[in-house]
């Protein structure tokens, strides 16, 4: 009789876990637009959001596109290697912000230009000593990891 009870408990637990997993999968699937943290330049170019919509755009800062204007205002181009969007920003930049590096900007799209109110730098998962990178660069062997 005790064995029967234990079997019943195991069945209940398995059914409960499967239902919970299914429920959370459905929630995740239903809200997958909502929980999207940032949009790529391709998504923004294909369906441009209205001028009042606040959203995040993420990609790489195109090499050679960074222009420091008057004061603290900068402009650069964010790319996903398919489409590009020009970005304008005034304010303090994070340490890791640089050309060829990952960036996530929050702001509005107005007449094709993204006016950012906040810039975040994205770091990749690689950790290399400074000396190694410097010597690789000297030899011209260094390849930036794509983030």
């Amino acid at each position: 009789m005790i064995g029967q009870k234990k079997k019943r408990r195991v069945q209940l637990i398995v059914v409960g876990m499967v239902l919970l997993a299914a429920a959370s999968a459905l929630i995740g699937f239903g809200f997958r637009q909502g929980i999207q943290f940032f949009r790529s330049p391709s998504e923004v170019v294909e369906s441009p959001p209205g001028p009042d919509e606040l959203f995040r755009i993420g990609g790489l800062v195109e090499v050679g596109s960074l222009i420091e204007g008057s004061g603290e205002t900068i402009t650069f181009i964010v790319t996903d290697n398919a489409k590009t969007v020009p970005v304008s920003y005034t304010g303090i930049l994070p340490d890791l912000f640089d050309e060829g590096q990952g960036v996530i900007a929050l702001g509005h799209l107005r007449e094709g230009t993204f006016y950012a109110t906040e810039i975040l730098a994205k770091h990749d998962e690689s950790y290399m000593p400074k000396e190694v990178i410097d010597s690789l660069k000297e030899q011209g062997l260094y390849e930036a990891p794509d983030s």
């Binding site: 943290f37 975040l120 290399m128 000593p129 400074k130 410097d134």
Partner: protein, 243 residues
């Protein structure tokens, strides 16, 4: 001789008492060597500079924050199926440790994120799932405190451990399938190429081992306390009944 013998409280106390000095000693050695090596004797990281050294604390803490809940899930499951008290008491003992690790992982992440990302906190999927995990830890502890009857409390908290597993774990891993946030992927993984240079990797492994052992030592100690508290409660109830 089977594993289930240690479900016997007396045997558990005896074994854990013998293990504890060894585990504690190893914890101190691994943490001391790993952290001192990592914090003071590693070169500067290429792009982040010295702030990258927080990896020696942040990564082990975050790993154990998740793994602690994994351990609570397994021990709660054993309680629900086999009704071993030591098992569920181990889950109860692990919860405050896991909560502390989660909180410290969020704090160390914020210290790293403020200069490197440019923000201490964003509602990125991975960061959000850690906030959810922290709430589950607090909820779990609150539920234990809220229910008088220990067996009933054990049953209900075990169910919460199951629910938390699905939400905390699935939200943590499932988001990766269709979404990418601000947080980078795992630097340490078993299947991919190595992302962390050897000079950083070896002290990192040592400090991870240190934090795993620290968790183990604390869980053993706290489970002993819980087992004895349960025994004390049983004795006092018996005294009360006789008087």
């Amino acid at each position: 001789m089977s594993l289930w013998e240690f479900a016997n409280p007396v045997k558990f106390i005896r074994l854990s008492g013998r293990l504890l000095p060894w585990v504690s000693g190893l914890t101190v050695i691994c943490l001391a060597v790993g952290l001192i090596w990592g914090l003071f004797f590693t070169p500067e990281e290429a792009r982040q500079g010295h702030i990258a050294k927080i990896i020696y604390i942040h990564v082990p803490l975050a790993m154990m924050a998740i793994n602690a809940w994994g351990m609570m899930f397994v021990t709660s499951l054993i309680w629900l199926i086999r009704r071993h008290h030591v098992s569920v008491l181990a889950a109860k003992a692990a919860a405050p440790i896991g909560a502390t690790f989660t909180l410290l992982a969020i704090i160390t992440g914020a210290i790293w994120g403020a200069p490197t990302w440019g923000t201490p906190w964003v509602w990125d999927p991975r960061l959000t799932s850690f906030a959810v995990l922290l709430v589950f830890y607090f909820g779990y502890m609150a539920l234990w405190a809220a229910i008088e009857d220990p067996d009933k409390a054990a049953d209900l908290t075990s169910v919460l451990a199951m629910v938390g597993t699905v939400f905390a774990f699935l939200s943590r891993y499932a988001v990766n399938f269709w979404n990418q946030g601000l947080h980078q992927g795992a630097s340490l993984s078993l299947d991919k190429e190595e992302n962390v240079a050897d000079v950083f990797y070896i002290p990192l492994l040592l400090s991870i081992a240190g934090f795993v052992l620290l968790f183990l030592a604390l869980v053993l100690l706290r489970t002993q306390t819980e087992v004895r508290a349960r025994r004390l409660r049983a004795l006092m109830l018996r005294e009360g009944a006789n008087a």
